[in-house]
Symmetry: C2
Amino acid sequence: MRPTVQDVARQAGVSLASVDRVLNQRPGVREKTIAKVEAAISKLGYIRDVSAANLAKRQIYRFAFVIPEGANSFMRGLEAEIEAVKQHSANDRTEISIYKVPPFDGRALAATLDGLDPARYSGVAVVATEAVAVRDALARLRRNNVPVVTLVSDVPSFQCDAYVGIDNVAAGRTAARLMGNFLGEKSGKIALVAGSMLVRDHVERRMGFEQVIRSDYTRLECLPVIEGKDDGQLVQKYLSECLRMHSDVVGVYNMGAGNRGLIEVLSKNGASKERVVVAHELTEHTRRALNAGIVDAIIHQDAGHEVRSALRILKARIDKTPLLAGQETIRIEIYLNENLS
Amino acid sequence: MRPTVQDVARQAGVSLASVDRVLNQRPGVREKTIAKVEAAISKLGYIRDVSAANLAKRQIYRFAFVIPEGANSFMRGLEAEIEAVKQHSANDRTEISIYKVPPFDGRALAATLDGLDPARYSGVAVVATEAVAVRDALARLRRNNVPVVTLVSDVPSFQCDAYVGIDNVAAGRTAARLMGNFLGEKSGKIALVAGSMLVRDHVERRMGFEQVIRSDYTRLECLPVIEGKDDGQLVQKYLSECLRMHSDVVGVYNMGAGNRGLIEVLSKNGASKERVVVAHELTEHTRRALNAGIVDAIIHQDAGHEVRSALRILKARIDKTPLLAGQETIRIEIYLNENLS
DNA sequence: CTGAAAGCGCTTACAG
DNA sequence: CTGAAAGCGCTTACAG
């Protein structure tokens, strides 16, 4: 039988309450008592039962997810994943609220974060935009003992409890390797599409992509980045102009959203077989494009994994329990038509 | 406040014990009482607290993992992942035992399974070999109400609770797409290496691989499969013979283990840049080979994910709780040097 | 600074 | 067929 607090109390010759105080590092215990309890714990190999503790504490986890609103399919997929755990998590004494804020708007995000009551929420996960006001709002939550994780997009200037997302430089490098290898001996230009060069993810992906192309595929040349604001309409307009101007574009890399516009241009363009196309994030649109051969590869991050990982990390901080190493690494996934699951 | 069994009992005008009987579908309750309780449950929106129930039941999960012994790095990685959750799972009232059996040996596997006491184990996960004795041993466990999942390698003739692993036909197709695209305009032969054509995974991967090569890359031709018994020494011997005999081998696909032998041959061979090499499973050896450019791509399955998924599925069966859709799909992962994490 | 007792939301004998 | 009471492994007031 596994030892319980009762056993520890008996072994140490103290009451249950004292064991509890030591276990939870509550103040007002004599050094000598602490020592006795700790000796008993290690002698018996006591491991505390977290769920029994949570039952006694009537612990309920309340989490806030703050994510961008708008048409971005990846973000809507992220929202769907949050909804899925939300339904499921009633079993786990967990309550989840979703707050949606305008995308690319640091002030709006900061205002929403400032509106979160630290007494109400036991943890916050946020798709962050970099801005001083955001950093300050996150710092306020941390000061009030609310653990914070950033999701998908990090804020390096703020030391949060964890960043749950991919390494975007490596993602760009991965895209470039696929592009370069798929192009074989061909030479020519690569069109680069991003949402905005003010967004960290996209800047990092571009950096990684250009690094690899320049060093390993010198017969290829990257055109200046087209900024499509993650908006399908704009992407469509700018990209078709670009392809008209440059007849020797052999590859297209979309490091941002707005894939609907990209797909529109390339499917009209017909000769998709002759160009290699790499984009980010598996959505219903990019899946269809992979199937149709309009897109050759998708670099993906698993939004469901990110949501569940964020929750595990926040709970571990709250319960002061260790995480399982390896489970919380978000991978840079590659999808071809063949391994869509 | 969330309603509890107390609330349900009060609302239904019955005792706690009766509520419990209905909740757990225990026999010996009048239809009318069942109806009253069920009405109260749905009226209050009662959701049962599984961890409180497990505490009261002194429920301890005891799981057996049955895996192959031997030098196979993937299997040793799988074992390490089981060990990792084993350490961690003391917190979760979960005990895990690992049984190792000789690889490719259905009788030894069946004997081990037959030795598992159904009274002791609440669930079993097994890396299965196809054999009648194995199927019967698994059926015995199921008859004794022990849920069973197959790990990595399925036994289609046995209807188990779940198969936790990848679709190996799709994995083969994925390997072929990478091979074909990376080869660009080149034509020539592809050397195929497998462990054994008696093992289902390898047969399926081969099928998927050849399908895609034949239909989409007609300038490429697959050589007959080399069977290396997943043994580095043998793979090295047979593959180097094969490369000596065929001067026009432009690609190598290893659908089995024994990658150390493969890497040995190809690194000596020098001209690795001229051949495209695709293999399975990220291990310390294949990582190094990716880094060194000896291997171009690795098709991978996440052993840690598989272990954790198997545990979640078994627990859900035991607790009769729903699974979170999406979390249990094992993906066919693709690794290039750039997205190693 | 310490301890006895009640309680968290369930389940389990046992009595009727 | 049904219910009162004790108990699972913790924590929380409250009294001293």
